[in-house]
Each structure stands twice: as C-alpha cells, then as structure tokens.
Amino acid sequence: MNSIATEARTSGASGPAESGRAGGDRFGPHRARRRPGRVDRRVASWWWVVPAVVLTVGIQYFGVAAGSVFAFTDWKGAGAFRFVGVDNFVAAFQSPATVQALWNTLFLALCFVVLTNVLGLALAVSLNRVLKTRYLMRVLIFMPVVLSPLAVAYIWKFIFQPNGPLNGLLRSLGLDSWAVAWLGDPSTAIWTIVVVVVWQNIGLTMVIYLAGLANVPPELEEAAAVDGASAWARFFRVVLPLLRPTVVIASALTLIQGLRIFDHVLALTGGGPFNATQTLATLVYKETFVNSEFGYGSALSLILTLLITVAAILQVTLLRQRED
C-alpha cells in the first residue's frame, strides 16, 4: 500500500481528486498488468495447438505435397527417378481406362448424392413426427453407417454372387431370367455398387435432415394446412425452403464422399469387369500399389484431389450464398 502511494506520488498522481491524471495513471499500471496475462494465455494456447499443427502439416500436407512432386516423375517406388514434366497427366487423359474411371467416378458420385439425399429426406420426413416407433426406426436405419465399408461390401458380395441368396430368391419366385451375375455383368455391376453405398449411407443423410427438420416450426405447417395447402404443397412451399441450408450441407458432404468411394468398389468388383466399375480412387490404388507406377498413380491422385477440391469450393460458395 505505501509503495503504491509512493509510486503514485512520484509518477505525478495526486490522488483520487485529480481524476484525469489519476485516471491516466490508473490506466497505466492496469494496462501493464493486463498485457502479460493476455500474452501468457496466447502462448499457452499455442503450446496446446502446436503438436496438432505439426502432425497435420507434417503428415497430411507434407505428404500431399511430396506425393504431388512424384506426380511429375517416373518413380517405380524403388531407386532413382526422373522428372518427366506433365507426361503422366497427358498419359492419364489419353488412357481409355482413366477416362472411363473419371466418368465412373462422376456417375457414382451423382447417383450417390441424388439417391442418398432424396431417400434420406423422405425417411427424415416420414420419421420426424407421428410414428410411435420412429426412434427405433431411426436407429435401425442409421446402424449401417457405423459399420466397416469393407465388411458391408463383402456381405453384399455374398448376396450378389451368381448362386447367392438374391439369385436364389429370384429363382424361387420363377424369375430365373433376372438371376444374373450382378457383379460380373457390366450393365449391372456399377448399379450394384450404387445400391450398396446408398444403403449404407442413407442413415447419415436422414440424420442430417432430421436435424434440419427440427428447426422447422410446426406452426408454419399448421398454418398452411389451415389455409388449405395440400401435403405436397406444405412440403415444397413451407418445409423445403426452410431446409435449404441443410440441403446444401448434406448434398455438398455427400458429393465429396461420393467422389471418394473406394472400399466398396475394391471389395465388390475390384474395378471390373473390364474396368466397368473402375473409379479414380481404385485406379490410383491399382497403378500405385499393384503396378508400382508411383509417379503415374500420384498424378491420378492429384487429379482426384483437384476434383474433390472443386467440390469443396462449391460447398463453400453455396454456404456463402446461404449466409447472404
């Protein structure tokens, strides 16, 4: 206390009566006491963040950057390599297999987005209210989401086998002509993959839309019903517009997920028959780890990364429009 008074006198402060000077003097010491605390917290926060930043940059971003460098080489995964410029990219777009894989990737992603969102929204609307068993139904529909994609794919592979349960059922119903080699027929193979991935992930979009529907006031629907709007009209003119932000998020997330489908394709068809279900992701795996073309595989991986990045940018753009 004495030392503070002495400090105040020596600094020119005359005490509380001279409020301006005292205020200035009072702010000076207070500012000096606050600054070290704020800096301490900032430094402490950085120490918590640094390990995560180091790991993320070191493993993810450095790995991506290193892989991107190899995209311009002819590296075989062992020994020396040469820089070949954009030869790998030229070869990729000249390769019928790569072009086919690109189309398959876009096709699978489009089907995945449309079907998971439409069916997921339908399930969400159905299980939003009214049904007493809706909570049990939500759990059952969501359960496949938490299963391993590989395990799911192998189970469905068994179901789709030429002498598997599905064909057995079809034959028992007298539908022998429908009992085809689902995974070996180029006209059905990619659709079987669509069925499996949609089946496994429809619960995720359902949950997203349920969260969105929770924010739709039931009074608005009731008011529209009072005004004579049909169920369809209430949905398309009241509920759906209010769900727009949820639709944007769900569709953007499923688009990114759809572009990356890998496990199901690898387990169900391996990319066959005759590349009919080959995607960019499976082609990257095949070229890199089976054919040991690390340079070419890295180039394909870079192409896929750019494709997914464009999708992510679309998501950000749509979100900004929502905010506006």
């Binding site: 789709f160 030429p162 080699a181 070996g184 028959p273």
Partner: protein, 435 residues
C-alpha cells in the same frame, strides 16, 4: 495478490527443443532390421515372406532346421506379411532403410512381387560369384534370374501351373483328364449334360485368375512351338497383335466359354464361389498353381485332388509352365550379408530343397536340377517336368512390367463379358509393354 513472475520462456523453449531433437534422433536410431551386433559372435537376421493360407509356413521349417544346426551363432527370424500388402510393405521398408535381411519375391520384373525392381535399384546383393547360387538356377530360367549377367536371387522350389482336378469327380462323370483340346470341348458338353456345373471353374472377377487361364492356354498354343517368343517380343521382332499363337489363345477363351466349359456367371466368379463347387465335384477342374492342391485336398476330405496339364491340340503339343517363381534375395544394405548367404547356401542343399517342397506343395528344385524322381503327387506332370523341352517358367515373369499381365487378365474379362474383342486385348497388351 500474488505477484506473477513472467515465465522464462526462452530457456524453457530451448529445453523443449533439445528434448524434441533428442527424441527424434532416438526414433531415427530405432531399426526393425537386423540386430546391429558386431561381426564376431551371435547374429540375428530376418527373413520376410508373404503369409499363405494361415498354415505353418514352409519357410519356418527350414529356418528352424538352420537355427538348430548352424554352429556360427546365426539365428534367423521369420517375418510373415499378409500377401495383399507384402509388396508395398517391403518397398516401404527399403525406402525407410529398415528392410529385412532376406526377402521373398518373384524373379524378373513382370509380377507384383518382382525382385527385379529392387535389383534395378541396387537394393539386392549380387550373388553372381557364389557357386551355390549359380548352381541353383535351372537352365530354362537363366533369362528369369540373370539381368545383364547379374544374379540377385535364388529359387527355392518349382511351381507347376496346371489344372487342379477333382479326380473323384472325374470318375463320377465317367471321364479322365483330356489329352487333346478337342477332347476338352467334348467333355465340357458331356459334363453339363450330366447335370454338373461345369468342367472348369474360373474366378472371372479376379484378373489374376483370368490371366492364369490365358497363360495355361498359351503354354501349348504359343510357347510349345516358340519357346523363345518372349525374347523375340523383347527384341521387337514380334508383337501380341501379330502372333497367331496369342490370337489362338484368346479365341480359345471364347470357344471354351461358348462350349459351356466354364460355370454359369463366370464373369462374376470368385474363389469363394468356385471352391465349394469344386470340392464337392460339381466343378471338376480349376486353373491354379499346383501347389494349392494340398490345401484343396484338406477342404475336400472325401475327394481325391490331383493335378493335370491342360492339353494342346495334340498330346505332343502339351506344354507345361513349371516356374521357379518363389525366390529369396539378400538386402544389399544388410549388416549381415555373409550370414544371409550362409542361410541361403544351406537352403540350396538337396535335402533341404526336398523338405521345403514337401511342405510348400511344389516340386523340389532338386528334381529339376538333379533329375531326382518327381514326387508322387505330381506323377501326372512327370513327362513335362523331366523333359526340358516340355516346360518353361511362367512367361509373364520376364515381361518388362506388370501392366502387360494385367492387360491380359482384364482383357479376358472383357472377352467373357463381350466388352472387348481379341484384337483389342492383343493391342492393349502391346500398348502396355514398356521397353
């Protein structure tokens, strides 16, 4: 109020930096490779191989015998790596500098586990001056194992690539393994008429099996008449597209499919769908390495499982691929190259080669090198195994890159589904040939 002393950040930062660097050096010093002991005294070396069917590894038997018998204090540890990730794991270990002392692989450069890739990168020890190594290479496999005169791996057995047949099923159908190609086509119809599934089972969804099917057909149609076809292709004197033999090979795939030789839905077939029907005799034969006959016999205790060569146009045209595809090589950066060589030299002794083949299910290398009697289980193949003009290594092993065999396997898929023509498949094989 307690006075807060500003933390001495700089000294603390320095301490943490030093600790981090020390940890980094400690981690970098860790090695999963061989024990870095001195050259004198006991040494431990590692041998890596792929796992097979989860049973006792044939490699472990020889390793145990070596560990117990050698008086140089050398201990060998076996590392078993799942087949699907073996190639990538070994490649990563070489890049990281902690690869095993000895690795398994296939000779040449045409397979997924090609040792040629590591040899080209200078990562395998040169065995050219080792007499025991040179003596272990069959004359028909010189091209496979020597690259510009350098030998960097040794075979450990010989794997016949043949038909694996259900003898009991054949007997039940009243037929014996065909000796001519026309007889095969007749049997296909006969088997179907008896209500069985098919004469042959093919995992059409697996390009490795469709590729093997094509190679077994090519054995008689290409390499019986032209054993040096691969050399001609490497020299650019021939191509797949202008080869009558290869054209006939792929046309045979179409013929066999149209004749009902393959199971219904072959394009979607897999080992999981074919094996159950094979073990109960509904499918009588599969295209596979002969070595798995013993494994299939365990799955079919009520049936006799054996092997047979796929016939050519005539019995005289029949040709067999008997491939020394399992090889061991030494890591050039190993700290115990001499100890590794000691192990391999032990392995090349005839009695150890015989013992290894007995467990691996393949033909002993000693049989091919020294003309010792063929094992009873390969009695059907003795004619081809003992005549150097009737057998050769798998041709894809000497192809310059794996994409060629992949193009063949994928192409056969396309033939089965109607997505590709013979010309397209042959052209794709030429297009993927590097060099």
């Amino acid at each position: 109020m307690m006075q807060q002393h500003p933390p001495s950040r700089k000294p603390r930062t320095a301490q943490l930096a030093v600790l981090s660097l020390a940890a980094a050096f400690a981690l970098a010093g860790c090695s999963a490779g061989s024990d870095a002991s001195s050259n004198d005294g006991p040494v431990t070396i590692t041998l890596a191989t792929e796992t097979r069917f989860g049973e006792t590894s044939a490699y472990e038997e020889i390793i145990t015998a070596f560990n117990e018998s050698n008086d140089q204090g050398i201990t060998v540890e076996l590392q078993e790596i799942p087949t699907e990730s073996y190639s990538q794991t070994i490649r990563t270990q070489f890049q990281a500098g902690n690869a095993p002392d000895i690795i398994w692989g296939s000779p040449g450069s045409g397979s997924n586990n090609a040792l040629g890739t590591f040899a080209d990168a200078g990562q395998l020890a040169d065995l050219s001056d080792e007499e025991w190594a040179s003596a272990s290479i069959p004359a028909s496999s010189d091209e496979l194992y020597y690259d510009d005169g350098v030998l960097s791996a040794v075979p450990v057995d010989v794997a016949p690539i043949s038909q694996v047949i259900n003898v009991t099923g054949y007997g039940g159908a009243g037929i014996s393994p065909a000796t001519t190609y026309d007889e095969v086509l007749e049997q296909c119809a006969d088997v179907r008429s008896q209500g069985l599934t098919s004469l042959f089972g093919v995992a059409g969804a697996q390009t490795s099996n469709t590729g093997l099917l094509a190679l077994e057909l090519a054995a008689s149609k290409v390499y019986a008449a032209d054993p040096d076809w691969n050399e001609q292709r490497a020299a650019g004197d021939v191509t797949f597209a202008d080869s009558d033999g290869w054209r006939a090979t792929l046309e045979s795939v179409l013929d066999l499919n149209e004749a009902g030789c393959f199971q219904p839905g072959v394009e979607g077939g897999s080992p999981e769908t074919v094996t159950p029907e094979f073990t109960v005799g509904k499918i009588l034969s599969i295209f596979a390495p002969a070595g798995i006959a013993a494994n299939l016999a365990e799955l079919a205790p009520d049936a006799e499982i054996s092997v047979a060569a796929f016939p050519g146009e005539s019995a005289d045209d029949t040709f067999l691929f008997a491939s020394p595809s399992n090889a061991l090589a030494i890591n050039a950066a190993s700290a115990h190259v001499d100890a590794a060589k000691t192990l391999l030299e032990f392995w090349m002794e005839p009695e150890n080669l015989d013992a290894f083949a007995e467990i691996s299910g393949n033909v002993s290398l000693a049989t091919v090198l020294n003309g010792t009697p063929v094992s009873e289980r390969f009695a059907n193949l003795e004619t081809y195994l003992t005549d150097p003009d009737r057998n050769a290594p798998l041709p894809n092993l000497v192809w310059p890159n794996t994409e060629v065999y992949d193009a063949l396997g994928v192409g056969v898929q396309g033939l089965l589904t109607g997505q590709a023509t013979v010309d397209q498949v042959l052209e794709s094989m030429d297009a993927t040939w590097q060099g």
